[in-house]
């Protein structure tokens, strides 16, 4: 057992997968000589050479399209898009091609590719570089969208994504790259795509998050445990397919739910979760489902404003306590 960063877990997994399957190769901006804007591909060019670690021009539509073609012909490209914001340049390739080819051509070819890309605010990168637009991809049948929150999950889910035969958008988060966690040495776990996880059991209320918000949800639960409040944390892990069953089972147990999401509230991922809860757990709800999301503004650059715009331990704690008050638990 060793404690490593989320970044390290991704790098180790990429490296191991490239050793395991020679069809796996990497493409992206600055991933080779510069070793990645966030150093995920550190050392890989040296180890695997230019044929398998390819620096691309700043042309997302072009290299995503090239990866789709490579995947159709049997390779397993893992594309890095520097941040999810730049995927907007390639959105036609992703939605109209990668997601559609298997179905539109009668299953003649699948598209076994992975697009790794980090989302997330909090880094003072301004409004155009701080978005959480994974919803755009989670909305589209034909894609899979994974959003791990811990190093161990990142490793197990990246393995699953590379080995899966469908196009997978693999959502990372700038705020998670330096987070640390235990990853069993020599672990070869391949995550099951489409499964959420109850990462902390509790009885009073269900707190749901994914990616960075799953981590923050864990912190909230930990702090509230000291006040005698038992919070069950559900980490969605897979935004598409969405594991509604795990969510509903948890809410049936606790009777109330708060959803934390880094994206915007209106039409956000939380709206889909809330709808799923009322469909599946209506008769078990003791209070309205609450959502805590980012402020509905383009992300401000100024640090205090940026911090205020993002959901926090404090805002989520408040929502949890208000919901508990509404079900007759008088807490703080």
């Amino acid at each position: 057992m060793s404690v490593i960063t989320y970044r390290q877990a991704l790098r180790d997994t990429l490296r191991a997968e490239m050793h395991r399957d020679e069809n796996v190769f990497l493409m992206g901006e600055e991933i080779g000589v510069f070793e990645g804007s966030y150093k995920i591909t550190e050392g890989l060019l040296k180890e695997f050479g230019e044929r398998r670690v390819r620096d691309t021009p700043i042309a997302e539509e072009g290299f995503v399209g090239a990866a789709i073609g490579a995947a159709m012909l049997g390779l397993r490209p893992v594309v890095e898009i520097m941040t999810i914001n730049f995927s907007l340049i390639a959105i036609d390739q992703i939605i109209n091609h990668a997601a559609k080819i298997y179905g539109m051509f009668g299953g003649q070819t699948s598209v076994p590719m992975v697009i790794r890309t980090p989302g997330g605010g909090g880094q003072q990168l301004g409004a155009t570089h701080s978005q959480n637009i994974e919803l755009f991809y989670s909305f589209v049948p034909g894609l899979k969208v994974l959003a791990p929150s811990t190093p161990a999950e990142a490793a197990a889910m990246l393995r699953a994504a590379i080995r899966d035969d469908d196009p997978v958008l693999f959502l990372e988060n700038l705020g998670l790259y330096n987070s640390k966690g235990e990853v069993p040495e020599g672990d070869e776990t391949v995550a099951e795509i489409g499964r959420a996880a109850v990462t902390r059991e509790g009885t009073d209320i269900t707190l749901i998050g994914y990616s960075r918000m799953a981590m923050v949800a864990g912190q909230v639960a930990e702090a509230l445990a000291a006040e005698g409040i038992s919070v069950e944390v559900v980490d969605l892990r897979s935004l598409r397919p969405l594991d509604r069953q795990t969510i509903v089972e948890s809410v049936c147990k606790t009777g109330s739910a708060v959803i934390a999401e880094d994206d915007w509230l209106t039409y956000g991922i939380g709206a889909e979760i809330a709808a799923s809860i009322q469909e599946g757990a209506f008769d078990y709800l003791d209070a309205p489902v609450r959502r805590v999301a980012m402020a509905e503004v383009p992300m401000p650059y100024a640090k205090p404003l940026e911090s205020a715009a993002l959901p926090s331990v404090e805002s989520i704690t408040t929502a949890v306590k208000e919901t508990l008050n509404a079900v007759g638990r008088r807490v703080g």
């Binding site: 209070a287 509404a326 007759g328």
Partner: protein
């Protein structure tokens, strides 16, 4: 053609009842004419036309209730103008062929005028079927989980008081009720007599003595809601004091003698109202309101006077009571009480109170405990003037007395503060010259 909407006639109004239509369909209407009388939660009010024309439609009949903003009628340029679209909420009825109620056969082109209103009407009916206006007693707020558990425990959820937001019944309430029942606490089931609604009187035959459900007026509903709220949310405490009313009696006689030529007569209640206002000015700590965890200090002294009317109870307010001369308090109280009985008080005449006086002396009531009229912090209950044996200078003598009882909101006013107020009020009433000083 312009539509007439149910207006918002008071801050708390959510829906209104068409009390009566003053204008009939086809009547000529001039700006300022009274079109319709509307009963709000507080009063019956006249509603005037804002433009000239003819009343061409009454969409809501007398006695019917509709929410604010609903179309209640229309004014056209000619007496036979045809209302084009009377659907509430701006729906476009002509574009809705799927309602089922619309004749699928297109109308002959020669009769467009007849065709349009028929479609409009059909669409209106369809809309009503989809979203009926809330009518009758409001459904209690309950969480889905509470409803399911109540069913499992066999509890009637309507008999359980909710502790959640806005009185929502939540799981904790059901579990508490179930536990209480198990422990053999007072039965949840209300006495049979308290259930008049079911339309199935006890026994198989109706001997004319069965309970029947009465129509509930808006005023009655507001009384029920506000007083329930007061007793549930306001922690009342009560202070009692009996005053010697001999001096007050003499003072009143003297004043009325002076006022004889004017025809104005000052009642004991007028004197008490004025004395209360004077005392409030001396004790501003009672002239406060506790609202949503905030404490409000009122600058004005506005005393409300409870008036019993056929519909129930209304409390017209004498604004700036502390500044009104006694004669004006007498005239104004009489006038407000008169209009209260006719249901013609304007909402602003019933709002803004900071203190209330309720007097049941005329019924020979010794004393009573009144329910506070939120957000006021106190109400003074006044009993009948009666002769009582009183010890004065070691001798038992008969004196005229009045029993006062002050109900106080403990959130806003503490016991000693309320007691000091009542002490001063008693002293003023016993030295009544101070009332007007």
């Amino acid at each position: 053609m312009s539509e007439i909407y149910m207006p918002r006639l008071s801050d708390t109004m959510e829906e209104g009842v068409i009390s009566s239509w003053v204008k009939k369909v086809g009547d000529k209407v001039t700006t300022g004419d009274v079109l319709v009388e509307i009963e709000t939660d507080k009063a019956v009010m006249e509603y005037e036309a804002y433009e000239d024309g003819y009343l061409v439609k009454q969409s809501v009949g007398e006695g019917e209730t509709v929410p604010i903003g609903a179309v209640i009628g229309a004014i056209g340029e000619s007496p036979d103008a045809v209302p084009a679209d009377s659907g509430n909420g701006g729906a476009q009825p002509a574009a809705e062929p799927a309602t089922g109620a619309v004749d699928p056969q297109p109308e002959p082109a020669a009769e467009p005028a007849a065709g349009i209103p028929r479609q409009a009407q059909a669409a209106e009916e369809a809309e009503e079927a989809e979203a009926p206006a809330p009518e009758g007693p409001a459904r209690p707020r309950t969480s889905p989980l509470a409803r399911r558990l109540a069913k499992e425990y066999g509890l009637d959820i309507e008999t359980i008081t909710g502790s959640g937001p806005k009185g929502r019944v939540v799981r904790a309430d059901i579990e508490a009720a179930a536990k209480q029942r198990q422990e053999g606490a007072p039965a949840q089931e209300p006495a049979p007599a308290a259930q008049p609604s079911a339309g199935a009187p006890q026994g198989a035959f109706d001997d004319g003595r069965a309970s029947e459900e009465l129509t509930v007026s808006n005023v009655r509903k507001v009384i029920a809601r506000r007083l329930t709220q007061s007793k549930q949310e306001v922690p009342h405490f009560y202070l009692r004091r009996t005053i010697d009313a001999e001096a007050l009696k003499a003072f009143r006689a003297q004043i009325n003698e002076q006022l004889e030529s004017t025809g104005v007569k000052v009642s004991f209640n007028d004197l008490i109202v004025k004395a209360a206002a004077t005392t409030l000015r001396l004790h501003p700590a009672v002239n406060r309101s506790w609202i949503d965890d905030k404490l409000l200090q009122h600058g004005r002294v506005n005393v409300g006077v409870a008036v019993a009317v056929d519909a129930g109870l209304v409390v017209p307010v004498l604004h700036d009571t502390d500044k009104l001369p006694l004669s004006e308090i007498a005239t104004k109280s009489r006038e407000l009480a008169g209009r209260a009985r006719e249901g013609k008080l304007k909402p602003q005449e019933m709002s803004g109170g900071t203190f209330s006086v309720s007097n049941l002396g005329m019924f020979g009531i010794d004393s009573f405990s009144a329910v506070i009229n939120p957000p006021e912090a106190a109400i003074l209950a006044v009993g009948a003037m009666q002769q009582q044996p009183v010890v004065r200078d070691g001798e038992v003598v008969a004196r005229n007395t009045i029993a006062l009882e002050l109900s106080v909101d403990h959130r806003a006013v503490d016991g000693a503060v309320g007691a000091a107020f009542l002490k001063e009020l008693a002293e003023i009433l016993e030295s009544p010259m101070r009332i007007i000083l």
